[in-house]
């Protein structure tokens, strides 16, 4: 599968064989708490700074301290680097460095490792005093050995003990040293990056980590005979590197928002960690509320009394906030909600990616609650989406749900640094005296838009209510008034839709197959489309940023393709499963929406594996659907 993407050549320089490749995927895995993530992140950051395309994802166990040396506890990073821009996590890993054989086994069993991969594994377990551990080592190495990988044993513990007393705390930097040698990373940059990563710790910590780095580098130089050359082909100038949650946090600041109310929930919480570090410098407050409901309540209270506020959550929290979201729509209080999706239903897969909240985000509120749902497709878009969301929330006096997911939240990618515009901050809300008799919901007949009356504004006194109300905000149960106010709230969505541009088709404007996606799958889908098109397959793709209201022109675009299908990370039945028929088949969530909206017979292919989609898997789906669809 790797041959589809990576162009490899081999040459011998001195003792070491150098494999030149257009891209390479590296994993660093350990028990939780051994620092593999810091190793991986640093490797990714250095590669980005050197001008490589990079995509980093975290491999996270759901528990804080899972049992050591257990496959379930595998924790670390996958870093995919390329000569050019890398838009997704790729297929399988080419190089894996593991701190014990059990976590390596876990990756092997998840089919995460390429057939010809190079595996570096800590070998202290082979001679461990515990007989059971030695037996586990032997069994694991047998299983791994049978798979045809190139396995290199590394005496990490033994080497690290020459520098530190507790090798468990040092192996990650030793491993980083090995990777730096293998990929010929800039060591000055790496030292700088380490110093940055440990900037909050004592100076001797940085110094010791530098020593471990050099130790790993020297060990690799002495003992390894294979290096990988992925040439930096990008300019790193004017580029930022961060994850999607950080981008959303910075986006919120750039959007001029000053109140983030939240309750801790994985994988959304790190947005508030980032804001906690910086928000106060801008006069912004991160309010950690007593629960998810209070979090959205505080955001609504702050929004009602001035600047648009936002709340950050994930699926279970979104469910708890539902009643308040309905109030935001009903009373036309601007509000931005960031939903960092994880696997569901219920507590589901807290640390893993899924796109299963779409219909809940659109229709979860009781009653008819028209509002805006957006989905950034890249880490860069996580930044810009916040600015757009705030602007829309305020202009349309409505709720905007911004849907990201665990893949964007924890993925790290370089992207062009935005040129900040003071206009994004928005102007102070209009608090000029309100003329007598002007109603608080003075709906424009055509658009449903009206001015917001903010407390403190003379002449604007009224009681906002979640009950059915007329233009004067008076409780009104009369049927005609409810019909009218529902119409006004709904109209705003049509007005917003009229300002949206039709989505761009990636690839040819017509053909055999159109793949439609939303959210974090864009990079993987487009890479798969590129691979298929390179083989002559007639396929294009289209990615939606607005799910409510839908972007215009979809039906016209769909009509130019023989077949349209969505690719999503949520559950759908397949027709060859028992009992499943065309009639009862439950489809992907975007497919539901597109079918309803366009009356086009949109098919879908979806998976809920708790990991981002692999471009290779989508490529296979494209091939099989074009041969089917094209023939039909």
């Amino acid at each position: 599968m790797a041959e589809d993407t990576a162009v490899k050549t081999r040459e011998q320089t001195g003792r070491a064989q150098v494999i030149r490749s257009t891209q390479c995927t590296v994993e660093v895995v350990s028990d939780s708490g051994e620092g593999a993530q810091k190793c991986g992140q640093t490797f990714g950051a250095v590669s980005a700074k050197m001008g490589n395309g990079v995509w980093t994802v975290e491999i996270i166990p759901a528990e804080i301290q899972p049992p050591p040396r257990s496959p379930a506890g595998a924790s670390g990073n996958r870093i995919r680097i390329g000569e050019r821009v890398v838009t997704n996590w790729g297929d399988r890993t080419n190089v894996c460095i593991a701190f014990n054989e059990q976590v390596l086994l876990a990756r092997h069993r998840l089919d995460a490792i390429e057939d010809d991969a190079i595996l570096l594994v800590e070998n202290m377990w082979a001679t461990h005093s515990d007989e059971d551990i030695r037996a586990e080592w032997t069994a694991a190495m047998e299983e791994l050995g049978g798979a045809g990988y190139r396995i290199i044993e590394v005496p990490m513990e033994q080497e690290c003990l020459t520098v530190v007393d507790n090798a468990r705390k040092g192996k990650n930097m030793f491993a980083l040293g090995i990777l730096c040698w293998m990929f010929d990373r800039d060591m000055d940059l790496t030292r700088e990056q380490i110093a940055h990563a440990f900037r909050k710790k004592a100076a001797e910590i940085t110094e010791r980590n530098h020593q471990l780095l050099e130790l790993g580098y020297a060990w690799a130089d002495e003992n390894l005979d294979v290096r990988i050359d992925v040439r930096p082909g990008l300019s790193a100038e004017n580029t930022l590197v961060m994850n999607g949650n950080q981008a959303a946090a910075f986006g919120a600041v750039a959007a001029g928002m000053e109140m983030a109310a939240m309750y801790p929930i994985t994988p959304a919480t790190s947005v508030s960690h980032q804001l906690g570090e910086i928000f106060y410098k801008f006069g912004g407050i991160v309010h950690q509320a007593e629960d998810e409901i209070a979090a959205v309540g505080v955001a609504i209270g702050a929004s009602y009394s001035g600047k648009v506020a936002f709340t950050i959550t994930s699926g279970p929290g979104l469910a708890l906030k539902t009643e308040f979201l309905g109030l935001s729509v009903m009373a036309e209080i601007p509000l931005v909600v960031v939903d960092v999706q994880r696997g569901g239903p219920s507590t589901g897969l807290p640390t893993k990616v899924e796109q299963s909240d779409l219909l809940a985000a659109l229709f979860g509120q009781p009653g008819d609650a028209p509002h805006v749902v957006m989905a950034p497709a890249t880490i860069e878009e996580c930044f810009h989406a916040m600015i757009t969301a705030r602007r829309i929330a305020e202009t349309f006096r409505t709720l905007v749900v911004v849907m990201t997911d665990a893949n964007l939240a924890t993925g790290v990618q370089p992207f062009p640094r935005p040129t900040l515009d003071p206009a994004w901050q928005g102007s102070a809300p209009d608090m000029s005296a309100i003329p007598e008799g002007k109603p608080p919901y003075d709906w424009d007949e055509a658009t449903g838009l009206s001015r917001r009356f903010i407390p403190g504004t003379p002449g604007g006194m009224h009681t906002l209510t979640g009950l059915a109300h007329d233009g004067n905000s008076r409780v009104a149960y009369a049927s005609a008034i409810n019909q009218k106010s529902s119409e006004m709230r709904s109209r705003k969505m049509a007005v917003l839709q009229s300002t949206l541009r039709p989505p761009e088709v990636y690839g040819a404007e017509s053909g055999d197959l159109l793949v439609v996606g939303w959210g974090s799958t864009k990079g993987a889908i487009e890479e798969a489309v590129d691979r298929a098109r390179a083989e002559g397959v007639s396929v294009s793709s289209l990615h939606l940023r607005f799910l409510s209201p839908m972007e215009p022109g979809l039906k016209a675009i769909f009509s130019r393709f023989k077949k349209v299908m969505t690719v999503e990370i949520n559950y759908s039945d397949e027709l060859d499963m028992p009992y499943i028929t065309e009639e009862n088949r439950r489809r992907g969530q975007l497919a539901w929406l597109l079918r309803a909206q366009t009356l086009v017979d949109v098919d879908c292919w979806t998976r809920v594996l708790g990991e981002p989609l692999r471009p290779g898997a989508i490529h296979d789906v494209i091939r099989s659907n074009v041969s089917k669809g094209g023939a039909a």
Binding site: E290, I300, A309, T463
Partner: protein
Amino acid sequence: MSHSCSLLAPVDEDQEFHLDDYEGARARWCPGCGDHSVLTAAQRLLVDEQLKPEETVFVSGIGCSSRFPHYMKTYGFHGLHGRALPVATGIKLHRPDLNVFVVMGDGDCVSIGAGHWVHATRYNVDMVAMMLDNNIYGLTKMQTSPTTPQGYKSNTQPQGSWLPALNPIEATLGITNASFVAQTAEWIPAHLFATLQAAYRHNGFAFVRVLQRCPVFTADIYMDAVRNPEMIDMLDHPDGVPVPESLRQIYPNHLRHDPLNLSAARDLAADTSRIRLGVFFRDEGLPRYEETRHLPAHTADDKIRILNEELDQYAV
């Protein structure tokens, strides 16, 4: 709650507000409902304190008493059942210049919104939080509430309430950082007014439980106490609510209680054999969340400059 920003309201500073400046829609509560008394007391308070209607917000939940904001001519927020306190907290965090009053029923405050009651007490954000406690769910037609007396029959517990009634004063006094805890009764307007005034003038979260009769469902609960002032102890102290002159003769039982004495307050609250009205606890020295979190505002250009500096750390 005394701060107000003159820049926000370019009205004539000499304008005097009268009762009708605070009167909103005509109240639609049942005749004899205790909510009427509270509404009158609140409107009197606003006149007395000359609060600008546009700088005053009444936030409520859902229930009979939560219709309250509609009957005021201030800003009002009639939101969700049990969720008035988070909304009020959000308002005050963003706009500490506004005068915020929260009106909740017993179901709102100590049942569906109980978590918020505990935490709002701890945040100690400067506002008046009134719990209009008629010991029953009225709007939904007579269901047991947490404060329904044990054995009292309702539509949901026709054999009588199974559990001892929750004691909101005792519970609030148990919450860390509680700064003002008082109890009054709707049938004693002078005490009700004096208590609301003390609550308003308190710098911090002022929790006031108002004992109320629901003329339809719980008319009998306080019947004896209404008829017999002997059953009531008035907590008396210059730092709390001094017993109003007009009531000193009618209510003969005065208990000298220093509202800074928390353990005495807890003992007084725990003893439910007597109805005690007045300020149980008051301490203005406790941290207020909106003050702790207050930050200076920045200009847009300033923010862009700082944001660029922050982004530099993520530059490749």
